[in-house]
Amino acid sequence: MAKTIMIVDDSASLRQVVSIALKGAGYATIEASDGQDALAKMGGEKIHLIISDVNMPNMDGITFLKEVKKHPSYKFTPVIMLTTESQEGKKAEGQAAGAKAWVVKPFQPQQMLAAVAKLVLP
């Protein structure tokens, strides 16, 4: 049974790039265009890891991360922030909100997969 990873990014092309890399490594993926969309799609399904952008419309990545950590079913789901944002202040904000890793775009698929393999729930 393939492990499921949710990809949250307002850029459709970025979602596809991440999805292709993950599917190539044998993971199943769920895509969402922002935090609100992601919360709506989380409906009880087992999610082994979340990869989220930071700057998104409707609900940004940090707010979404905080919502995930309040969710009874997903509060232990590891979250990787995948963003163009490289400021230390933002990283600290992500860490404080409960992110497990901070990946700066553009990313190398192999490095991303290594981070996913390290953090994905068993």
């Binding site: 850029s11 092309s13 790039v17 292709i20 944002e85 990946v103 775009k105 490095q111």
Partner: protein, 399 residues
Amino acid sequence: MNDTTLTLPVPDALPTRTSLTSSRLPTVIGLVGGGLILAFSGMSIGGTAAAMFMVSSGIASGRWCERTSNMAIERIRQLEAESARAEQTSQEGLSELCLCTLPIWRRHIESARGHTEEAVAELTGRFGTLVQRLDTTVATSRRATENGSIVGIFERSDCTLQEVVDSLRTTQQGRMGMLEEVRALTAYNDELKRMAGDVVKIAEQTNLLALNASIEAARAGDAGRGFAVVAEEVRKLSRLSRETADRMTGKVNGINAAIGQTFSVAEQAADKDAAVLNRSDAAIREVLGGFGRVVEELRHSAAVMQDEGSGIRQEIEEMLVALQFQDRTSQILAQVYGNIGELEEVIGRLAADEAAIAAIDVSAWLQRMEQSYAMLEQRLNHSGTSDCSRVESNEITFF
């Protein structure tokens, strides 16, 4: 670059207000000069005339200068009014220009951003499909060369056919063994023939003995008559024994001939079988050798295809990495789009209220811009102090 006011040029050739005080100077000079002439001429007629001329010339010059000055002042006022009107018109025109062009620029930016996003998303999707199809092809090829596939089937067929050939060869060897056993039977026949010969000799001896007995019985007369009968019977038995031995010899010879013929036929058949078996073995070896080469080529081409597939997949992945530029471009354009919107709003306020220009804090504006950046690239672009083409990447921080 913090200067937000506009200044219109003033012509250098125009007189200034301070220079207009000199218009009274000829009158004063005329009066002073006339007074001095009167004082030094001692009120003579010539002196008085000269003084009056000096005074009148001064007054005339003064009036001319005053008139000229007034005209210049009027002209300056006109120019100042025109300049003010031009400045106001210019500000209004600039505001109008901005209010008209900024929304157009925003639409262009949004349109370009949308097109790029759409095109890159489609491109990424197509690359994704290519990767999936490539994975499927490589997986199919890999399965074809794994055990249980065509290669496995070939290897098992090779073993099975070899077993069949070995089995046929064993059968042939068994048949040859059986023929050797049959050949051994002829030795028993020779023995039987010798035994039949012995029987013939015994029969001859018995016949001779019976003949002697008959002679002796005849010599004995009546007393030997019974013995003569017995001797005659013994002679008959001797003859029958010989005849039986002769028939046995004939039969044995017949059997020998039959065995010899059978053996010869079987031997020829065995030779043919061996030849057929050898040809079959050679044919099987040749066919399997051909298949083996085909399978080896298949295995090689599958390995090449898998390697090429992996290489192409890697190339596509790198191209997909390169396509991530779109996300960065989109963020930069989105920031510029928002910033132009804010500028448009400010210019709208300026057009409605000229005093609002004083409320613009350029430093705060630039600071807000800087805070709205997400990427190092944007900040470098903003400051213009470093290489703007440098892009941070491959950075992973684990918490």
